[in-house]
């Protein structure tokens, strides 16, 4: 049984696709990450990750309509698939389970 894993950045991008819904395209994700997580990431890195996620079947993509901005170029809109959603959920649960196992320390103790 082979199980797919997601890298940290992949998980982040996948989550953003889930959040942004029909407005999830390369640049929007970069800006969303910057806004919500405060992390500067590179556009090309996001693109590459999106294509990789698409290969793995966690997102699918289609071209959006033409707009007047961005020089008339169309956006490639990514949407999260059921498999992607299940993956995110599974990862979250696994993490919560593990988190529970950590002895809860009081803040302030050394």
């Amino acid at each position: 049984m082979k199980k797919e894993y997601l890298g940290e950045f992949e998980e982040l991008v996948l989550t953003m696709v889930g959040i942004l819904q029909e407005d999830a395209y390369g640049n929007a994700i970069v800006n969303e990450i910057k806004e919500r997580v405060g992390r500067n990431c590179n556009l090309s890195a996001v693109h590459v990750t999106l294509y990789r996620l698409e290969d793995k079947g966690y997102v699918k993509s289609s071209m959006g309509g033409a707009t007047n901005t961005r020089g008339g170029r169309r956006k490639r809109i990514f949407t999260i698939t059921n498999a992607g959603l299940a993956m995110l959920r599974a990862m979250k649960e696994a993490r919560v389970d593990l988190w529970k196992l950590i002895p809860q320390l009081k803040i302030g103790s050394v």
């Binding site: 390369g26 556009l43 090309s44 693109h47 294509y51 961005r70 020089g71 956006k75 490639r76």
Partner: protein, 893 residues
Amino acid sequence: MEPELTKVNPPQLALRLLRKVCPPELYESIEGDLIEQFELDLHEVGLKKAKHRFVGSALRFLRPGIVLRNRFTITFINTIMVSNYFKVAARNIQKRKFYSFINAFGLSIGLAFCMLIALYIQDEKEFDQFHANKNQIFRIEEKSFDTWQHDQPDPYRKSAWIQAALAPTLKEELPEVEYATRFNDGNRAIFRYGDKVFTERLTYVDKDFFTMFSFRLLHGSAERIFIDQAEVVLTPAIATKYFGDEDPIGKTIEIDNNGKKSYTVTGIIEPPPSQSSLTYAILLPQENRNYYERNMANWGNFGTPTFVQLRQNADLTVFKSNLDKIIDKYIGKKLEEWRKEAAVPIPADAKMLEYEFTVLPDVHLKKEISWEKVSDPQYSIILGGIALLIMLIACINYISLSLTTSASRRVEVGVRKVVGAQRNQLIYQFSFESLILAVISLVIGLGLVMLFLPSFNEFTNKGIELTLSSVLKLLSVGLSLTLITGLLAGSYPSWYLSRFRPASVLKGGFTSRLQAGFTKPLVVLQFALSAFLIISSVMMYRQMHFITSKDLGYNKEQVLVIPTQAGWTEESNRVVEQFRTHAQQEPTIVSVSGTSSSFNQGYSRYGFKIKGEQKSAYVYAADPNYLTTLGIQLLEGRNFDVNIPADSDAVIVNEALVRDMKWTDPLNEYYNWREDTVGMGSQVIGVVKDYHFLSLEQNFEPMFLSMNKSSVGYLTTMLVKVASTDVTAGLERVKEIWKELYPDKPFDYTFLDQDVANQYKSYQRWMSIMGLSTGFAILISCLGLFGLAGINAVNRTKEIGIRKVMGADLQTIFILLNKQFIVLALVAFSMAAPLSWWFISKWYMKEFTFKVPLTWDLFALSMGAGLLLALATVSYHAIKVALVNPAETLKYE
């Protein structure tokens, strides 16, 4: 919405680059994202910074995650089409058998040449690499001030022949030296075992030889060999020659080398491989050399090559300074004496003697120090250059033929494009075709290599064998060459062919011919290369012919050269005398004479001071029959006469010596070459016309003949002139007399003219190589020209038909079709002539003092021959087309 901002365009260069490498299906959204960010940045950080960021993030897309997606799709399309490409290529090759043959033939010869050269260079590199201790073994060399060339820019003489006592001294006194052996090769002696008597070549070494070098002992062990001085180690071939199937170990063999002595065979050693600088057949302990004791005692006698093996961590600078100490200790005094006595003043800062050393693997290519198998790295370069030329000519054939046949591929290209082929795909297709052809040529080329290897070995004086590993290496060299040439030769045609516009091609524009303008310079280049080779090899041939047919000043025909086998003793003179008496009655033997050394079998050159001036002269011991046997012309004076006692110290000199001494009346002069303080020296009784006792590379040098046995030497070589009517009968008779007189001595002989010709062996070899490659180059380029002319004629069939109808005769058409080739050939020749003149005079002719002049008729002749050949090649098609009835060609219009 914001028209004022869209006017600001992002930097286009980065985008254009990105478009090239990015998969098209992803490109639009990426570009959009980049532009969007640019527009945002424009508001936030201003134009300059926005541009900066834009370029930065655009360039970051040039990463494997993006680019590799691209390649995947291309290989995908390619694999689908490959079978189709293959099919089309195979059909094309079949359809145009003749052109395919021309291409494959040229390429395979070019490839074969390149592979042979690769083998040659490989072989040169692998020389002496098989010794396990190769990096610890050094050859010791002397560098000493040479008073004979004191006025040269480099007045030092370098040689590998050093003192006999050095090897044992080094081993004993220097801590760095682990082993040492001397290596004297080339002395010949008579071997006897039972009724088998032959002369054999001996090699004198020391015990350490077997430990230092990795020559395998088949019998016997390195520790126990050469403990006794009367031991001998043989190669298997020699062992079977004397002992047949018997076990050679422990057998005794008699060697006659200035006195008979018995030796016991204690070892059998494998023969030296062809890639070994050291060669031998029979190994003897060094102590058995003639005059060994005398050589050991005399540190002024340089005659023994020496090898040492240094310890693993020896410091070479320490070793060098230790060598200097050895010089000081053993011959320091002597050197100072020599410095004082020297005929010319030696500069105070010049060292009289210095030892240098060369690590064993470098010995082979160290051309400034003479050694039996030493080689010049220049040879590899020249051979490589020739191979490259041939390869280039073959490639040009391919390019020009595919360009000229391109017309027939136009429709194919058009249809492919209409159906949706990208230009890239067409380029792949045509490159693929040329690769297929190149691979076919590779297979043929490999066959040619195997076929030609024996003759190549003969030409280059090598012993290259094809082993599994060398075949594998050859394959890898061949494959990479094939890939390179296939792609190189295929690149221009495929670029050219893929350029056609489908609309204009398919519209039916068949009447217009497609002109590939690039073919003409290619043909010129090809022709120039061939012309260069033609002129060079004709020049070489002329020089060779000049040398072999030049009057040398003596008669070298029908003269047998026979060693007296009696060594450097009075006995040798008696052998000559005895033989002469016996041969007197023979009608087949004209005359018998003796000399100290025959031509090209060594010489003696003496240096001495006459009236305070440094002089030198070549010296040959002779007898009264010498001049007549060799037909040397006496200009003044008389020949030697045994009845005049004073003649035993008289000399006959050559014209060069008279010039050197500035004598006006030589017959009244005395030549004081022994630096007699009492007497006046030797009386000059005759002057001979200059003759070439040296090779033609050298000028006439001062020389004299003498009968003085004690100072000049004994007649160790007999010269027998036989009647020209029946040389074989004469030879048989000489052999019979020899067997009768000396049944226990082997009869070895050579012909004088062959000895003399052997001086030019290496030139002869180079001429053959050059001739062969010229032949191939001409063949390939003529085939190419033939193909080209054929296509040209076919292209113009209709034109010629019309011309004939209008009244043109055969001659006009002939000229029309051939004119352009003649012009091309002329241009090519005018390019090649100065180049080959430079090459010949700079590289080849400078070796000779006596040379055939470079005259205009050489160039004219080569050019005429080349033009005729080209004309003959192209005429076939011209005549064929010109003879066709115009009705045939025009009826379909």
